[in-house]
Symmetry: C2
Subunit: 141 residues, 2 copies
DNA sequence: TAAAATTAAATTTTGCACAATTTAATTTTA
DNA sequence: TAAAATTAAATTGTGCAAAATTTAATTTTA
């Protein structure tokens, strides 16, 4: 029964820390007018300027129920375009706009600023990366 | 700029894995009729049968905006009672009901089942616990 | 090739999360 | 002790998440 003690729950630690990270991002992303999930979409588009809702969903592990309204908001802000593919009308293509490309510069300092705020002992970082990567790879099998 | 690559983002890994854990809990908690945040509240109450919204919020790192409606749902299910403190009318006391106490038995197998589903290499577990505990302790300073 | 199956997004619904504000009670302090 | 400050919940509003269903397009297969 001691496994029901909240302090012993690894999953609660993930849940709590993940939310904490989002609050640390908030002031940094506010300057770009983005939420954290919106920022993740922009990260993907900064790597590859054109993609689809499906591919985006696979990369971020989010479904269309989450992405459709989120992408509409980003389109509203003028950061990306949404359009039906002409070769397959089921597909919606997402492409970076000039404005969307522009704010990549402003975002370039965010990763460092954020990690500073997270303030993880830097010796723990490689281990965390390794363990989490392994765990996430397992999900995607 | 390579820090803007999504695969390099530790925070995305936390975000994605935390959501993944919640989906693993879902079928287990469905038998109790609970969501994951509701389950966390029950974990706290199974340790200490009476508490307050404020204390609960500190333990789970959630505010009244999240807890108030969540606690109303748990009260609706008959698992806990909400009542204003008589000594300080600002405070709402939360107490476990007989029904709420009863389902602790049903929940006793969940931690093991969940960790099996998470399928983390068991050699990584102590490290994860240690690193996350340290990081969460820093938040609460 | 027509029917069946599959696929991609969108929609609907429920339930968090959290910032900001409000309300009411209690404490502090001038 | 009356005014000011603080505290605890509740409320309001926005934006995820994810399950379930719907819609429309494409692919498979009988």
């Amino acid at each position: 029964m001691e496994k029901l003690l909240i302090r012993n729950q690894l999953c609660f630690k993930f849940y709590a820390f993940s939310r904490h990270i989002t609050t640390l991002y908030k002031p940094l992303l506010a300057e770009l007018g983005l939420t954290y999930p919106q920022y993740l979409v922009m990260l993907v588009l900064w790597e590859k300027e054109q993609t689809t809702v499906k591919v985006l969903g696979e990369q971020l592990m989010l479904d269309s129920g989450t992405l459709t309204p989120l992408l509409k908001r980003l389109a509203q802000k003028g950061l990306l375009n949404r359009s039906r593919s002409t070769t397959d009308e089921r597909v919606v293509e997402i492409s970076l706009t000039t404005e969307g490309r522009k704010i990549k510069q402003k975002a370039s300092c965010i990763p460092d600023q954020l990690m500073q705020a997270v303030n993880t002992e830097s010796s723990d970082l490689p281990q965390l990366h390794a363990i989490l990567s392994k765990m996430i790879d397992q999900i995607q099998e």
